[in-house]
């Protein structure tokens, strides 16, 4: 390793590196669980399961809070600093994105960084509106619903529903992007999010 004798050919330009720390990996799969279960419990709600929707929502909220803290004090690849992309780096990467080779980023590639921020913002909106939502058919209220007027409650409940559609779209995009990297770019990001080891450009 390390010797650069055939650096022009194939995988020798890449090396495995430990990129994702254990906390972000556990965090990610907990988030998958809380978002998928929360979404399903909201969309297919019943009187006997609605309380679980609210618990799933609290779990998502706590996970988002953790991610915000981790964005400041976590290891370099998950810091918000590493997620700050400029239009020019984004454009530069987007131009190379369709190439049939791994991106080899030692963390998020620029397009990935944008989607991470989008997901975190959208899920924050989902949780925040949920806190003020009211279900006036099954009679469940978010814990802060009584702090606002009835018409505000109705509006925030409508936004909660609207943003749940956006969450669905963005999660499907997220999964499509991962499949695109796996099948087209031959880069297995899922394994990296499980083991922490990622193929990184030397």
């Amino acid at each position: 390793m390390g010797q650069d004798n055939d650096s022009s050919a194939g995988m020798s330009r890449f090396e495995p590196q430990k990129v994702w720390d254990p906390a972000i990996r556990i965090w990610h799969w907990m988030l998958v669980f809380s978002v998928v279960s929360g979404w399903l419990l909201g969309e297919f709600r019943s009187f006997s399961t609605m309380q679980w929707h609210i618990y799933a929502g609290y779990t998502t909220g706590i996970l988002i809070l953790f991610r915000i803290v981790w964005g400041f004090i976590g290891p370099p690849p998950v810091r918000f600093r590493a997620l700050a992309v400029t239009p020019s780096t984004l454009k530069k990467y987007a131009g190379k994105m369709l190439r049939r080779e791994p991106s080899g980023a030692a963390g998020h590639n620029p397009v990935g960084a944008v989607s991470v921020i989008l997901m975190l913002v959208l899920l924050s909106v989902q949780v925040l509106t949920g806190l003020f939502s009211e279900d006036d058919a099954l009679f469940f209220d978010g814990p802060l619903a009584s702090m606002v007027s009835g018409s505000t409650r109705t509006t925030l409940t409508a936004y909660h529903q609207l943003s749940s559609k956006a969450v669905l779209i963005v999660v499907l995009l997220h999964i499509s992007a991962i499949l695109f990297y796996l099948l087209w770019k031959r880069e297995n990001l899922v394994k990296a999010m499980i083991t922490g080891w990622k193929i990184v450009r030397k």
Binding site: F47, D135, A137, L138, S151, T155, A158, Q161, L162
Partner: protein, 162 residues
Amino acid sequence: MTKRFKNIFIGILISCASLAALPMAQAADDDAVAQAIKARQAGFRLYSFYAGQLFAMAKGEQEYNADLAATLANNLVAVTELNNGMMWLPESDNTARKGKTRAQPEIWAADSNIGDKAQTLKDAALGLSLVAGDGLDALRGEIGAVGEACDSCHEDYRAEDF
């Protein structure tokens, strides 16, 4: 002095004119359609008042009281059995009366099944009324069907916001 009187006179004139215009503005807001909308919303308020306390009991937020529970459930049955068809006038949907109602035009469409949904609620309320006074567990067993009947109609026929 005379100029001041003139100003006061004009002021009074304007006030009288706007006071006279006020009832006219209200009339447009209180025609037969507006009254029907308010009446049916009052009906839903009653559903919500009776059902809401039963839900609060079922969730342990209000102490269970067998007599009150039975009365609330019987009242709910009574109001769901009213024939309020005359309140659903043409041109009383949320496109014709923006900001006043959340009732969607699909209610009036040829393939509307709002009648079936209303029947589902009636059946659920009746089922609840048969056991509501028999204890908390009996109440809990039947109340879900009531909320789910409300929810399913809102899902198809009520807009999310005004």
